[in-house]
C-alpha cells in the first residue's frame, strides 16, 4: 500500500506529462499556424493555412480537454488551485479558443472574411499567450497556504519570468507551425515558411537561453536542484543537446528539406519537455505541493489508469490514422471534397 501511494501519483504525473506534451506539440503547430496567418496579406494563403488544419484542429485541442479532465480527476487540489490562481490567463486562453474555433466555419461561410481572419489569428495568439503566462506562472510558483489553497492576488501571475516564458512559448509555436507548413505546403508558400521557421528558430533559441540562464540565478530552490549530483550531470547536458537540436534544425531548413525540420522541432519539444519534467518532479504546484499531497485517492487513480490509461494507444491510433488519410500537401481551399 505504501508503494502504491507513491507509484500511482507518479504514473499520473507521467501520463499527464504525456498528454501535455502531445497537446503542446499538436495544438502548438495549430496555434502557430494561426499566429502565422496574421502575417499573411494574401487571402488564398490564409485559406490554405486554415485548410491544412480544418480536419485536425479539434482533435488537437481535445488533448488539452483530456489533460484538463485527467488533472481534475488525478490531482483535484492542483486543478482547483492552479486554475483559480491563473484566472486571467486561463480565460484569455479560453476566449482565444472560442474565437479561433468558430472562425474555421464562420470564415468559410462569410462573404467578407476580414473579421474571421482576425478572430482566427488573434484568437490563436491569445490562446498561446494565455498558455505561456500560465506555464510561466506555474513554474515560477503560486502563492498557496499550507493546505495548498490559493491565497495570492489576481495579478500574481504577471511577472517578468512569466512574460519571458510566454514570449518564448509563442516563438516555439510559430516555429513548429512554420515547420508543419513546410511539410504540408509547396512552392512559394513553402519558401515563405522556410523563412519564418528560421527566424522563429533563432528567437526561440534566444528565449530559451534567457530562461535557462535566469532560472538558476533567481530561484534558489531550482538552483539547489539543478546543481545537486547526480542529477546535475543530466542537467548539465541539457543546454548542449538543445543547441545541437537547433543546429540540426537550422541545417535541415537551409537544405530545404521537406519533413526533417518538423521532425527536429518535435524532438526539440520532446527534449525541452523531458527536461522540464525532471526539474518540476515531484511537484504539481512547484515547489510547494507534491504530487503525493495533491493526488486523488488510490482507488480513483487505479480506475482512471484502467479507463483512460489503457485507451491512450487507441487514441493515438485514431489520430495517426487521420494523418494517414489526410497525408500529402494542401493546395486549394478544400481538402479534397
Amino acid at each position: 500500500m505504501e508503494t502504491l501511494q507513491y507509484f500511482l501519483p507518479q504514473c499520473w504525473f507521467v501520463i499527464l506529462g504525456l498528454f501535455l506534451l502531445l497537446y503542446v506539440m499538436l495544438d502548438g503547430f495549430d496555434l502557430g499556424v494561426g499566429i502565422l496567418s496574421l502575417t499573411s496579406s494574401d487571402e488564398e494563403r490564409r485559406g490554405i493555412l486554415m485548410t491544412s488544419l480544418s480536419n485536425i484542429w479539434d482533435a488537437n485541442e481535445t488533448w488539452l480537454v483530456l489533460m484538463g479532465g485527467s488533472l481534475f480527476g488525478a490531482f483535484p487540489l492542483a486543478y482547483g488551485t492552479i486554475l483559480s490562481a491563473l484566472y486571467i490567463p486561463i480565460f484569455l486562453m479560453v476566449f482565444g479558443f472560442v474565437f479561433r474555433g468558430v472562425a474555421f466555419e464562420f470564415r468559410e461561410q462569410a462573404n467578407r472574411k476580414f473579421f474571421w481572419n482576425i478572430a482566427f489569428g488573434v484568437g490563436s495568439f491569445a490562446a498561446a499567450l494565455g498558455q505561456g503566462f500560465a506555464l510561466g506562472a506555474v513554474l515560477s510558483g503560486i502563492n498557496v497556504d499550507k493546505t495548498g489553497h490559493f491565497i495570492g492576488g489576481t495579478w500574481d501571475w504577471l511577472t517578468w519570468q512569466s512574460v519571458l516564458v510566454a514570449l518564448t512559448l509563442i516563438q516555439g509555436y510559430v516555429l513548429i507551425g512554420s515547420t508543419y507548413l513546410v511539410w504540408k505546403t509547396s512552392g512559394e508558400l513553402q519558401d515563405i515558411h522556410y523563412g519564418t521557421a528560421k527566424l522563429a528558430a533563432w528567437t526561440t533559441l534566444i528565449g530559451a537561453i534567457f530562461i535557462t540562464v535566469s532560472t538558476p540565478i533567481f530561484y534558489e530552490s531550482t538552483r539547489t536542484r539543478l546543481f545537486d549530483p547526480p542529477l546535475a550531470y543530466v542537467f548539465a547536458t541539457i543546454p548542449f543537446i538543445g543547441v545541437l537540436l537547433i543546429a540540426q534544425l537550422l541545417r535541415s531548413l537551409n537544405r530545404k528539406e521537406d519533413r526533417a525540420p518538423f521532425v527536429w522541432t518535435i524532438l526539440l519539444f520532446v527534449f525541452t519537455f523531458l527536461s522540464l519534467g525532471l526539474i518540476v518532479f515531484p511537484y504539481i504546484i512547484p515547489t510547494q505541493i507534491t504530487i503525493y499531497e495533491a493526488s486523488a485517492d488510490a482507488s480513483s487513480l487505479v480506475i482512471m489508469i484502467i479507463l483512460i490509461g489503457f485507451l491512450i494507444p487507441v487514441m493515438v491510433f485514431y489520430n495517426v490514422y487521420q494523418y494517414i488519410v489526410f497525408r500529402g500537401k494542401v493546395s486549394g481551399e478544400s481538402y479534397g471534397e
Binding site: 480544418s54 480536419n55 485536425i56 479539434d58 482533435a59 485541442e61 481535445t62 480537454v65 484538463g68 479532465g69 485527467s70 488533472l71 481534475f72 480527476g73 488525478a74 483535484p76 486543478y79 482547483g80 492552479i82 486554475l83 483559480s84 484566472y87 486561463i90 480565460f91 479560453v94 476566449f95 479558443f97 472560442v98 474565437f99 474555433g101 468558430v102 474555421f104 466555419e105 464562420f106 461561410q109 462569410a110 490559493f150 489576481t154 509547396s186 486523488a296 485517492d297 482507488s299 480513483s300 480506475i303 482512471m304 479507463l307 483512460i308 491512450i312 487514441m315 485514431y318 490514422y321 487521420q322 488519410v325 489526410f326 500529402g328 500537401k329 493546395s331 486549394g332 479534397g336 471534397e337
Partner: protein, 481 residues
C-alpha cells in the same frame, strides 16, 4: 450593488449562462449524428443518390454546430477549476475522473473521425466512411452518457461518503451507476434526438412550404416523422420516470416543481396546480388554478399518494430552492412542449396514412408545414427548461445533500467573475446572432444537388503527378499503404 460584489451569485450566473449557451450546440450534433448515420446507411443500401445528398446537406449544419460546441465546451471544463476550486477539490475523486473519461472515450473519438466524415468522402472507401460517421455519432452520444452520469451523481451522490469535506469513493461503480443515471442518460439522449429531428423536420417543412426541392425534402421529412413515432411518446414516458425518481430522491425539488407549500400525506389524494403565482416570502401561492385529486394520478397513476409529497414549508429554508416560480414554470414549459410535439407527430402520421404526404401533395399541407416550421426551435426550449428544473431545483446544493453551492466557489474577487461574465455575455450574444445568420444562409442557399456522387463517375480526371500538387488518391485506403 450587492449582486455585483457576490462571487457566489456571479459564479452561478456565469455557469448558468455558459451552460445554457453551450448545450444548444451539442444537442443538435448528438442527435443529428444519428440522423446522418441513417441517411448514409440508406444511401449505401439503396444506392439512391438523394440520400448521399442529404448526408452532405445536413452535415453542413453539423459542422456549424460542432465548432461552436467545442469552443463553448472548453470554458465549461475549465470553469470547475477557475470558479469552483473547492468543489473540484472535494469531488475530484469521482467527478473529475468522469470528466476525464468523457474526454478520452467520447471527445477523441468524435474529433478524430469527424475530419474523415466531413472531408474524407473521396479519400476513404464508402465502408470506412460509413464507419467514421457511426463513430462520430457514437462519440457524440458517449459524451451525453458521461456528462449525465457526472450530473446524476451530483443529484444522487451514492458510492461514497464525505470525509473531512472530501467525497471519498467506496464503490466506484455505485457512484457511476447512481440511482438517477439510467433515466437521466436516456432522457437526455432522447431529448437531443427529438430536438434534432424537429429541427430537421422544421427546415424540411420550410423548403416544402416554399416549394423548393419538395420531393427531396419530403424524404427527410418522412425519415424524421418515422423516427418521431417512437421518440416523441417514449420521451414523455422517460420524463415521467424521471419525475418519479425526483419524488423518491429529491423531495425539495419536487415541491418546487409543483409549487407545493404544504405536505400532502400518503394515503390521501392531493390537488395538482396547473397555473400558480408562487410567493417565496409568504410561502404560499398568491394565485392558483388546481385540478382536484390529480397529483396522485400524475405521479403514481392512482388517486391516493403512496408516498407523501413534502411541502416546501416543511423543509428548512436553507435546504430548499428559492427560485420556485422559475422551477415551476420551466417544468411546465418542458412538459407542454413534450406533449405538443407528440400530438403534432400524431396528426402528421394521420395525414401520412391518408396519403397526403406524397411528394406531389405534401406542399398542399400548408398549415401542417407551418406548425412544423414553428416547432423547429421548441426542442431547444424544452431542453433548457429541463436543465433549469434539474440544476436550479437542486439548490442550495451543488452535490445534493452533501456540498453547498455557496461552499463550492473559488476564493477569487467578485470583480474577476464580473469581468469574465460580462465578456461571456457579449461574446456569446455575438456568436448566437452570427450562427443564426450563417445557419439561415445555409438554408436559403439550399442543397447542392449537382454534387458528384462518389463511385459513380465514369470518367475520372487524369491524376496529375506534378510535384507539389495535391493529388486526391482515389484508391481505397488499404490499397494506398
Amino acid at each position: 450593488m450587492d449582486l455585483f460584489s457576490n462571487t457566489v451569485v456571479l459564479s452561478r450566473m456565469q455557469f448558468a449562462l455558459t451552460a445554457i449557451f453551450h448545450i444548444l450546440w451539442p444537442v443538435l450534433t448528438t442527435g443529428m449524428g444519428i440522423y446522418l448515420v441513417i441517411v448514409e446507411g440508406l444511401w449505401l443500401k439503396t444506392k439512391n443518390p438523394d440520400y448521399y445528398l442529404h448526408a452532405r446537406f445536413w452535415s453542413k449544419f453539423y459542422v456549424l454546430n460542432f465548432g461552436i460546441g467545442v469552443a463553448t465546451g472548453i470554458p465549461m471544463e475549465f470553469q470547475f477549476g477557475t470558479n469552483w476550486a473547492p468543489f473540484s477539490e472535494a469531488v475530484g475523486n469521482f467527478f473529475g475522473s468522469v470528466i476525464g473519461f468523457e474526454a478520452s472515450w467520447a471527445f477523441m473519438l468524435e474529433a478524430a473521425f469527424l475530419g474523415i466524415m466531413l472531408f474524407g468522402w473521396e479519400r476513404v472507401n464508402p465502408a470506412i466512411h460509413f464507419m467514421s460517421t457511426i463513430l462520430v455519432a457514437v462519440g457524440a452520444n458517449l459524451s451525453t452518457v458521461f456528462i449525465l452520469i457526472a450530473n446524476s451523481w451530483m443529484q444522487t451522490p451514492t458510492g461514497g461518503d464525505m470525509v473531512n469535506g472530501k467525497f471519498v469513493v467506496n464503490d466506484y461503480f455505485q457512484a457511476m451507476f447512481n440511482p438517477f443515471w439510467l433515466n437521466s442518460v436516456s432522457h437526455m439522449f432522447f431529448a437531443t434526438l427529438e430536438t434534432s429531428l424537429f429541427v430537421i423536420g422544421g427546415i424540411s417543412a420550410w423548403y416544402i412550404l416554399n416549394r423548393r426541392h419538395e420531393a427531396f425534402f419530403a424524404k427527410s421529412f418522412k425519415i424524421v416523422l418515422a423516427a418521431t413515432i417512437a421518440v416523441a411518446p417514449f420521451q414523455i414516458y422517460l420524463g415521467h420516470m424521471s419525475g418519479e425518481q425526483v419524488q423518491q430522491h429529491q423531495p425539495s425539488k419536487l415541491a418546487a416543481m409543483e409549487a407545493q407549500w404544504n405536505t400532502s400525506p400518503a394515503g390521501q389524494p392531493a390537488d395538482w396546480s396547473v397555473i400558480a403565482i408562487p410567493n417565496d416570502k409568504a410561502e404560499k401561492n398568491d394565485f392558483e388554478i388546481t385540478i382536484p385529486n390529480a397529483l396522485g394520478y400524475i405521479l403514481e397513476f392512482r388517486k391516493e399518494l403512496t408516498h407523501p409529497v413534502v411541502g416546501l414549508k416543511d423543509i428548512k429554508s436553507d435546504e430548499r430552492p428559492h427560485a420556485v416560480g422559475l422551477i415551476y414554470y420551466a417544468f411546465r414549459t418542458m412538459i407542454a412542449i413534450g406533449f405538443f410535439l407528440a400530438v403534432l407527430m400524431g396528426l402528421t402520421v394521420l395525414q401520412w396514412f391518408r396519403g397526403k404526404l406524397s411528394a406531389a401533395a405534401i406542399s398542399d399541407q400548408k398549415w401542417l408545414m407551418r406548425i412544423w416550421l414553428f416547432s423547429g426551435p421548441l426542442g431547444y426550449i424544452a431542453v433548457e427548461s429541463g436543465w433549469i428544473v434539474r440544476c436550479v431545483g437542486r439548490q442550495p446544493w451543488s452535490v445534493y445533500g452533501k456540498i453547498r453551492t455557496a461552499d463550492s466557489v473559488s476564493n477569487i474577487p467578485a470583480s474577476n467573475v464580473l469581468t469574465s461574465l460580462t465578456a461571456f455575455a457579449l461574446v456569446y450574444t455575438l456568436l448566437f446572432i452570427t450562427t443564426l445568420y450563417f445557419g439561415s444562409r445555409i438554408v436559403r442557399k439550399g442543397p447542392d444537388l449537382a454534387l458528384p456522387i462518389p463511385g459513380t463517375e465514369v470518367t475520372r480526371p487524369a491524376i496529375d503527378t506534378s510535384p507539389g500538387e495535391f493529388v486526391p488518391d482515389e484508391r481505397p485506403v488499404e490499397a494506398q499503404q
